[in-house]
Amino acid sequence: MALTNEQIERYSRQIILPNVGGKGQDKILKSRVLVIGTGGLGAPCSFYLAAAGVGKIGLVDSDKVELNNLQRQIVHTTADVGIPKVESGKKRLKALNPEVEIVTHGMRLDSSNILDVIKEYDIVVDGSDNFPTRYLVNDACVISKKPLVHAGIFRYDGQIMTILPGTGPCYRCLFPEPPPQGAVPSCQEGGILGVVAGALGVLQANEVLKFVLSTGDMLVGRLLIFNALDSTFRTVKVPRDKDCPVCSEHPKITKLIDYQEFCNLRTKTDCSVK
């Protein structure tokens, strides 16, 4: 596919890069990425993916924009308060780059619908804010062998790991089961610095672009941990768990589980816990 002059101009600063060029840009334009959550992680992630020219971006969110979201969820603006987040997100991404196809999934993912949603995409970004969705997304991606970029944020900390099912560890290799209800901090304890969400969301977009371009080294088997107070990054090696409940050779989990919501205030305060 030949790039138009407008595309050459728009994407010139990345076409220039070694490992991108016209062929890489073409791969980006043909890629299909599902971003789960249009919150603190999904907003910056989808914003950069749209800017880079990802051909099709799916946005999943069942919530409406609230004023308390705007401190970090940069695709939504003050005027959007009250409208569905996927609509607000679509509007902003389209304004940034009209040639990106934005598909809105204004739903809560559960065991009955997630496999149908993710099968339309090449890679999934988990920007969810709750444990039931995080485990559901991990298991669905492992079962359907779909690459997944996980990230979690909490207060001043963030972590990110890319999951290539069959190749590297999954989220359950790291944390086999969701924590017991009492161990999860309440939403009020949650709290998040907007820039932590931004940093991690942008790192997720970086993982997606490397996957699409088949270049660089993704965070497979490596958990990258960011602390905003110290401004430090560290990497922890994560091995595959040979007894992992979902991605080992003898998985205990063979069908998807709908865990109960831990945090009743999630819809009110965006309980970002890890």
């Binding site: 050459i8 101009e9 010139s12 600063r13 076409i15 220039i16 070694p18 060029g21 016209g22 062929k23």
Partner: protein, 78 residues
């Protein structure tokens, strides 16, 4: 030495940096190794930057001619 006949050419007069290089890079991607691309670029900033960037990508500039206020470059794709 006899000059090789270019396999493709681009007139980049009036095209500013870095779009002139981007267009050169895209055109080179379409060629096979050893083929020759002829480009015409403006003197000044384009001439100061484009040849350098082409060399950084590993290609060879086999000939440079000054024509009026422009430069004609023959690039061998590597």
């Amino acid at each position: 030495m006899e000059e090789k006949k270019p396999d493709a050419n681009l007139d980049l007069r009036g095209v500013v940096c870095p779009i002139n290089f981007v267009k050169t890079k895209l055109k080179l991607e379409e060629l096979n190794n050893g083929q020759i691309l002829e480009i015409i670029i403006d003197a000044g900033e384009p001439m100061a930057n484009v040849p350098r960037s082409i060399k950084e990508e590993g290609h060879k500039i086999v000939k440079v001619d000054k024509v009026d206020n422009h430069f004609r470059l023959l690039i061998e794709k590597a």
